[in-house]
């Protein structure tokens, strides 16, 4: 599962991560826009309260289920065909590095129809193309309902770009996430 969020989306993203059970059956990759000038301790703060492991993604690190990976500031985050991460310092996209589009597309290239892309509140169009790409590769494209987003530019442009995205309000997003765990339990 890949999550992209920016202005106005942080607190919902926190709550989603806090809701994940320790044995959450997917790996979670989170791309947020934040300034490189400030050292952020977001991951450490979250880790204290979440049941899943939360960390910054390292280059060459193997992606694993039940772990939440944040893209480090000032690098794009890519996924290799062998399931390891690569950090990439190429040009920013929409003035953003990490950019949501870059990671959404890269994860989709590798995981194809086994990807859930979730795009939350934000003030630019980053993420829209990436989410459409996930959708075209057979993955599930989920967008926060613009009317429940604090800043609706990002979800609205994704809805404009994707063919048939799943548009969910906040409580339905939590429902979806808990269904993922439940479904996995049933399959086992």
């Amino acid at each position: 599962m890949v999550i992209g969020c920016s202005a106005g989306g942080f607190s919902l993203m926190f709550d989603i991560l806090l809701s994940l059970p320790a044995e959450f059956p997917l790996a979670v990759v989170v791309i947020i826009h934040r300034s490189r000038k400030h050292k952020s301790s977001m991951e450490a703060l979250l880790q204290k309260r979440t049941k899943v492991t939360v960390k910054l993604a390292d280059g060459h690190e193997q992606m694993k289920t039940s772990v939440v990976y944040f893209a480090p500031t000032d690098y794009h985050l890519l996924l290799e065909p062998n399931g390891t991460f690569t950090l990439d310092c190429s040009e920013p996209l929409f003035f953003c590095r990490p950019a949501i589009d870059v990671t959404f597309e890269s994860v989709s290239d590798v995981c194809k129809d086994k990807v859930i892309g979730l795009l939350l509140s934000g003030a630019n169009q980053d993420g829209a193309n990436g989410l459409a790409y996930i959708e075209a590769n057979g993955g599930l494209a989920v967008v926060q309902d613009p009317s429940s987003a604090e800043v609706d530019v990002m979800p609205s442009s994704a809805i404009g770009t994707c063919k048939n995205p799943l548009v969910l309000n906040n409580s339905d997003i939590f429902e979806l996430v808990s269904q993922i765990t439940a479904l996995k339990r049933t399959l086992n």
Partner: protein, 275 residues
């Protein structure tokens, strides 16, 4: 990249990599597949080329390959990128470098030269430049010719000046370049002891002995095996007690190598060869 027409699979990428190796002798085998795929897709989009077309252009058109080589690797760079790194360099590495009679610096994967000129400025500032010599190398001839000119967009200097201030310098960056129209030209006195030339980290070997080697944001694109080979090359090219500087996301991972270096700065990934 919502354009789904100009795209390739990882299998196609392997084919292209083989083709390039056979025709031009450049080996991209140990490079990040995810990054290469992104770059090749971008080249196809910009030039409106199908997979078939890009393969035939690569086979038959060496001028196109030149352009391809420029685009397929990531050349993004800045002056004084990661100011914290340059601060540690000034405060903890340069006092040590000062004890060497001659200071030879190798900036591997120097791109268009911004990083190398940053070193030159720092050495000049510390009164060490006159006994230093700096080598900048890259695989990409286009970025190297930009590096030799040492002319950068004036609009970028604002960010670079902020970086420079953040390194804790008492100087102003404008002491080291002249501004004319939209261009900032690095002072000639800083270009005296500098040489830019082609060197491929994958296929070329040791060419000198250095007191300091800096290779930043190059190894992030290499797989573990290639990374280790290149680190060995750096080890072999360093004098005893010489310094190795890596990028902010690059560390000495192998235990074998870690034993031969002392960690000077854990956060900035600066090492000193001790065995």
């Amino acid at each position: 990249m919502s354009d789904f027409v100009h795209t390739i699979s990882f299998d196609d990428l392997v084919e292209i990599t083989k083709l390039i190796r056979n025709v031009y002798g450049f080996d991209f085998v140990g490079y990040s597949q995810a990054s290469l795929k992104r770059r090749v897709t971008r080249i196809m989009q910009l030039n409106n080329l199908s997979l078939f077309e890009i393969r035939s252009r690569l086979t038959n058109d060496s001028a196109f390959f030149d352009q391809f080589l420029t685009e397929v690797t990531v050349n993004v760079t800045e002056m004084f990128r990661d100011p914290g790194f340059f601060k540690v360099l000034r405060n903890e590495v340069f006092p040590y470098l000062a004890s060497f009679q001659r200071i030879k610096v190798w900036n591997a994967g120097c791109s268009s030269g911004e990083e190398l000129y940053s070193f030159a400025i720092l050495l000049e500032e510390q009164g060490l430049y006159s006994r230093s010599f700096l080598y900048g190398t890259d695989i990409n001839t286009r970025v190297l010719s930009k590096a030799k000119k040492g002319i950068y967009e004036l609009s970028r200097m604002k960010q670079y000046s902020e970086n420079f201030i953040a390194t804790g310098s008492a100087h102003s960056l404008s002491d080291f370049y002249t501004a004319k129209y939209e261009a900032a030209t690095i002072s000639n006195k800083l270009k005296k002891n500098i040489l830019f030339s082609v060197h491929n980290l994958v296929s070329d070997g040791v060419f000198n002995e250095f007191q300091m080697i800096s290779c930043r944001n190059v190894l992030i694109y290499f797989d573990v095996e290639l990374q280790e080979r290149v680190i060995q090359l750096f080890y072999d090219s360093l004098c005893m007690l010489g310094f190795l500087c890596l990028g902010s996301k690059e560390t000495l991972r192998s235990n074998e190598m870690a034993k031969r270096f002392r960690v000077v700065s854990k956060t900035e990934n600066i090492y000193q060869k001790i065995a």
